[in-house]
Symmetry: C2
Subunit: 133 residues, 2 copies
DNA sequence: TTGTGGAATGTTATATTATAACGTAAAGAG
DNA sequence: CTCTTTACGTTATAATATAACATTCCACAA
């Protein structure tokens, strides 16, 4: 792996870790431009693709945004729960759910390669606050 | 001039039923323009939103595309399995999976409102064909 | 009948997300 | 030092989606 790639990716991870929630590719680009004014979308998307392949970040398909992995980056498909109120995301690895899912889709011979499991709703904190009102 | 709500939506459903797989909003727009050359993206997106709210179609978040519902349109969140080879989509309703999912995300008090469950892979047919080669 | 309010649509413009195509530069191997 | 590979730069454009406001249609009531 080239040193150049890792440096950009590390900076992107830092930004994403410091960000309170999911970040879009273009918001990330804007932040990156403070250290490199000429950064282009292409570069960001390439690095995002690499980080995603490595499992270091996950793409939220239902939001066109990205979050850092919250677990060991070699885990299987995870469940991402997204609070629509505060924007927080929690990642859960649950082999049981995956197994059941594969059973269901496998009934007609479907062979699963990639799972997208995203749950929208309210996190514990926001849900409690709703109840008060 | 324009087709009022239900008529447009019915035409969109027909197009989607005749289409072999998921269709993008703009591909749908292009087909609609054969009967109404001035149709605009806004109109299509509005009708897609309405059909989605009614449960008559589902949006594939991981593909930016839409498919007709394959079940009674009042069912709970379903599992959409997408063949990356032939583009076919199968819809499964599986309460057990949902229950398990809610249990997992509920561990920290998360309250689920909407589930996105999309599985990419190979359908039975395409998987068999792969094996032959 | 005619007016009127709300929903759907038209119209125009723009925002947001993502990739294509091709050239250049950097790092590592030998 | 050359070769190769990969990352990166640059420019352009494609693809997806929404904002903002005007207009039209239609149900329904005055
Ligand atoms: Zn992860
Ligand atoms: Zn929250
Ligand atoms: Zn359905
Ligand atoms: Zn297939």
């Amino acid at each position: 792996m080239g040193q150049r790639g890792e440096q950009l990716q590390a900076e992107m991870l830092t930004i994403m870790d410091q960000n309170s929630g999911p970040i879009s590719a273009y918001d990330l680009l804007e932040k990156l431009r403070s250290s490199n004014a000429k950064m282009a979308p292409t570069t960001v998307y390439r690095a995002l693709a690499s980080l995603t392949e490595q499992g270091r970040i996950h793409r939220l398909e239902s939001m066109n945004a990205y979050v850092p992995c919250q677990h060991d980056h070699h885990h299987q498909s995870s469940i991402l729960s997204i609070c629509d109120d505060c924007g927080s995301v929690e990642e859960n690895v649950a082999p049981d759910v995956l197994n059941q899912l594969e059973t269901v889709v496998g009934e007609n011979g479907f062979s699963a390669k990639r799972h997208v499991i995203e749950v929208h709703g309210l996190c514990g904190t926001c849900d409690s606050e709703e109840a008060v009102q």
